[in-house]
Point group: C2
Chain length 790, copies 2
Amino acid sequence: MASLGDIGVSALINIITAFAFLLAFALLRIQPINDRVYFPKWYIIGARTSPKHTHNFVAKFVNLNFKTYLTFLNWMPQTMRMKEPEIIEHAGLDSAAFLRIYLLGLKIFGPAAIVAFLVLIPVNVSGGMLFFLSKELVISDIDKLSISNVQPKSPKFFAHILMMYLFTFWACYMLYKEYDVIASMRLNFLASKSRRAEQFTVLVRNVPHVPDQSVSDTVKCFFKKNHSTHYLCHQIVYNANKYARAVRKRQKLQNSLDYNQLKFERHPEKRPTRKTGFLGLWGKKVDTIDNYHQKIKELDEKLTMEHQKILNDPKRIMPAAFVSFNSRWGAAVCAQTQQSKNPILWLTEWAPEPHDVYWKNLAIPFVSLSIRKLIISLAVFALVFFYIIPIAFVQSLANLEGLEKVVPFLRPVIEWSFIKSFLQGFLPGLALKIFLWLLPGILMTLSKIEGHVAFSVLERSTAAKYYFFMLVNVFLGSIATGTAIQQLQSFLHQSPTQIPRTIGVSIPMKATFFITYIMVDGWAGMAGEILRLKPLIMFHLKNMVLVKTERDRLKAMNPKSIDFPEAIPSLQLYFLMGAVYAVVTPILLPFILIFFAFAYFVYRHQVINVYNQRYESAAAFWPHVHHRILASLLISQLLLLGLLSTKKAANSTPLLAVLPILTLTFHQFCKNRFEPAFRKYPLEEAVEKDTQDEACEPEIDMKPYLCEAYLHPVLHSIEEFELFELGVDHNRAHIPNQLATEPISGSHVNEQENKVSSKMQHLEVVVEQSESVSTRNHKTLSLNVDVMHH
Amino acid sequence: MASLGDIGVSALINIITAFAFLLAFALLRIQPINDRVYFPKWYIIGARTSPKHTHNFVAKFVNLNFKTYLTFLNWMPQTMRMKEPEIIEHAGLDSAAFLRIYLLGLKIFGPAAIVAFLVLIPVNVSGGMLFFLSKELVISDIDKLSISNVQPKSPKFFAHILMMYLFTFWACYMLYKEYDVIASMRLNFLASKSRRAEQFTVLVRNVPHVPDQSVSDTVKCFFKKNHSTHYLCHQIVYNANKYARAVRKRQKLQNSLDYNQLKFERHPEKRPTRKTGFLGLWGKKVDTIDNYHQKIKELDEKLTMEHQKILNDPKRIMPAAFVSFNSRWGAAVCAQTQQSKNPILWLTEWAPEPHDVYWKNLAIPFVSLSIRKLIISLAVFALVFFYIIPIAFVQSLANLEGLEKVVPFLRPVIEWSFIKSFLQGFLPGLALKIFLWLLPGILMTLSKIEGHVAFSVLERSTAAKYYFFMLVNVFLGSIATGTAIQQLQSFLHQSPTQIPRTIGVSIPMKATFFITYIMVDGWAGMAGEILRLKPLIMFHLKNMVLVKTERDRLKAMNPKSIDFPEAIPSLQLYFLMGAVYAVVTPILLPFILIFFAFAYFVYRHQVINVYNQRYESAAAFWPHVHHRILASLLISQLLLLGLLSTKKAANSTPLLAVLPILTLTFHQFCKNRFEPAFRKYPLEEAVEKDTQDEACEPEIDMKPYLCEAYLHPVLHSIEEFELFELGVDHNRAHIPNQLATEPISGSHVNEQENKVSSKMQHLEVVVEQSESVSTRNHKTLSLNVDVMHH
């Protein structure tokens, strides 16, 4: 058991790390050369361009205005200037809702911490005597402040149970309010949107095969018959994966050609040459420009053939379609009803945003989906329970007594008190973090195999898996030491009432571990997040080596999105820790509160200045967040029940048993009350918007827009594909409308595929378009921009 | 442990009982005086009337045709003459689907029994040696035939595991086929129905209160706006419970008046008088006819006032409505979509049949529903786990050693071998049965409190509770002896893997108990069912004492419906026993097979000749049946797993662990594949029917029919209420149509309320109407009718 001193050392290390990161960030962010790393969002929406017209050459790279160095922490108040509605307009509802999770954490745990400090800590500390304010306390063991300090059978446990009740009611009240706010924000957000393809479109899967009829005709017949007055048109889904690969290859060649032509223009005396062999290292020497021209010509022929093939070969047509309706009402009805007598045919659901579609999974038939789900759940289960072995091994290393046994010659070093504190305080959390770093990629792959059709759903599914992993391995695994399989086996052989006991007993003892975890993962991690060290280095490396055109530079910024699959589960882990320790070891709460507040600032800054969301799901992840916070409450209640039952508090413990039932009822109520807002689209709303639209523009013909919106991006002309890859296809997804307000800023830059480079003229089109639609933003946000523009 | 001899005695008793019942039935059913008891269905559909024109007076009461006595078992082949489509037409799809459950039992367990007898019993018996065919076996312990006879660690357990796999696959295959058949039967049945109110009507609940607007106007506005092209009309729900009570009182008075008038007509010399006091025992003597006339007049005034009050007092209008649409498509869309932004307002669901509506629960608001659900689940849990105490007490009495300890002076009697066999074989099952007899009423009340709005749903909910009860108390409770609370406690303190072990071990030992249970509950119980002893006695008693008019006689028949809440769960219990013992003690299977076959004949007879279904849910209970049979399979797998793990069959047991996962996957697949057919109405189907209707009768105006169909029956004129109580309101629910085929034979006779008696003329209207619509039935079924019409 680490003492308060150990925690002090650990806290010091982490605070120093965090401050070092912050200082570095403060210095780096005001250098013009880094501007694209720390403010990419403004470049993407077109509010900033490269500082071309500076007279001073040095000033292009280094900030010479020394005044700005003095106020190096002023990014924090700056982030607060943008109000929530502006954030929604600037970065979308997903980002705004994500920020609200941190605020929710502050709202739930802030008052809880105050009450716990005023009531529970005195109760815990006064182990019969009142040496509560004595000096001894400060250097005493952290257990003195926790529930461990209370004698068994003590009537004081009533205080803990009361606190648990208060905490649960308070948390549920805040959760209810928050769900209410988010649900109405979502409805308002959807309502305020101008006409967009996804509001009128439904994705139909498992179209049955009708002999002697094309898929397109089958779809047309079916919807003409069953939605006669509402059906407008449909878009067949092509299997264009092969074609997409060829297109990307062509773009690469084109980019190299552009680069060489630019080079040749600058130095007309030397015509570039290259060797045809591997990586241009050997082989016949040829003229580079001619060589690329020829290659592109060959590829173009292939592409034309492949394009023809896709459009004509019935095998390339998937049994799925995007069906568009002439009103939101028609689409809402089709998405929510059963179409066919055979319920596994003609499955309908709302179409995701065109950006959000994961094309590869559209063709999976229903039976295969069921099997995939089964296999993936087994795989996730195996992953969760076998991945724990290495973690437990590293953690047993961090157990100093164990380490001394393994490597006895290291004993003198380990015994040195600073090293000891470092090892005990820092290492376990760090080891865990490194392991967790590898995981999201694997889980995302599993989710893709599972067959979801939208990136947003994929990310939510990954987040769910990741949370399960964190719960079992990070939380429960850290509390109950021993290898995972042993744990699983002993749990299987224990009685169901024994499990919360076994875990409950060791909870107070693990408080220090979680405090260090919060500091490493939360504090230092957040400071690392804002520093963006990896993107910073990558940007400058790419700028030196790879960037050939202006468009490459735009790509090299790599602003990324909020990393939902990773950020939300770890966030939920903090809620779990807070809920469990609020009553057991309240001293943990301030650490969590600092994390929430700090993370709130950091993510606010990132959302405003850095991230560029790939898609907009209108806070569709909120039910998951809500459910998991409720699950945390339930877990904390069960663990407290287990803990108290070992304390022989027989007269008070049964009082707690009611709480889980009340919590579950609250869960059920919230599910009925709010969840439909996230799953369905009320007809009332649809009719309202339809009527509004009709009043504004009665004679608009949406057919041309709707029919093209869901064509696989690669099947538009190649130039359009490039635009799409940069997320600027809104003239297809977005029906032109006088009411249009928000720019489409989702960038569909798939990391594995971002080797596309390009032609200047397209970029200019892109920037022009972005600027024109973001004019309004520019004005409303000008204050912030001016301030932040060093 | 009972020996085969004990079982023999028990079987003998039960077979004798069953045969006695059957003989009694065979003799009683051919007496004309009992005709209304054993063939009430034919009276209700109008295919039979009282034998008025017989010349022989005795022949009116006793069957004098002695030939018919010789063929007393010929009702069995007779029941088989009616084919399934005829049964559907005659008694509805619910009855036909109910009969198919028994067939399913035969299909699943028949081949299983053959394979088990050919493979497993030889394997079990040859406990190393092959004395399989020796004479000793026949009188040896029943355990010799079960898995108990196999040595621990024996490789023979592979045979049991293989058998379990085969059995599961076979059962799943049959379940899949059956689900498929029932689903398509349901769709065909719904499709073949002529226009009926419920196809066009949606029940809307939780209509919000809008200030200064009546509920009716609110509903009208909302649906005019959101379903503009489909909304036709709506019917407000009135709180008419008080009025209904008054109407019933008036009917009672009217009936007494009729009776006295008839009496006076027959004996004009003596004008009837009565005393005004309690039960007419004391008080002032008055002229009966005048007295009733006056009372009816007073009541009529009150009724008129109350009627006015209901129609005008806004407090009597419930926030619910039946909304009708001009097409099935419109109704299907409304029933399946979310209407309002606030998802707990404007809740829509398909309207039940007008007969099926449980009016009292229509006004429960959403929040109250959630709370009710919680409370009722807690109550059911308590009931299930505390009700077990008396059962366990009686069963411990039936344990002879225990009984001898409690009442030592009875020892000589008990030790007498026949008594011993009787007590051990007969008593435990009987005690259980008596306890179970009390239960359905309580569970139905709980379901009513829970807030379901249709009788069919109430019955299904009761059935679910009853099954839970049977599973815990009859099945698990019988296997694991000891009081329930002890059991619950020890289960809570055991590990999850220990529970199937504890139960698994005692399974083979309880085989005899379940065999006697099958014989008492199944064989003798079924024979009792067909004898209808209680209705027989009640009918003759009523006929002598209470029956004043012809209509009373119709009521006194009391044909009842299939008792779904009780029949389906006990049926499912047989599936559970069969699944568990198929591998463990296959000797149990023939007993179950005999039960299924016998019950199939009995229920077929009853469905054809006796039962009159109150409502028609088009086999809506099938998913429940399917789920619970699957649950039985799962339970049997887990218990076998537990049993094998105690047999130290370490090399074979893990093979079994895959089976539950496969079973769950199958469950998930069936849920997706078939369940929507029972919950939703596909738009394809709706459009087809709409188009058909339009082609047949393009200019029909449904508004007048639809608007009145869902008025509370008591608010029609009093005469109509009486017709409704007898289930003959089809000119309201059923839109006249040339395609009309099926008669509406649901009788809404609520048992607690069936003291209504009446006037002759109405009955004649009823019978006339019934006859006219059932003409077609009459013809197609004439063969059967003639045969059965002794």
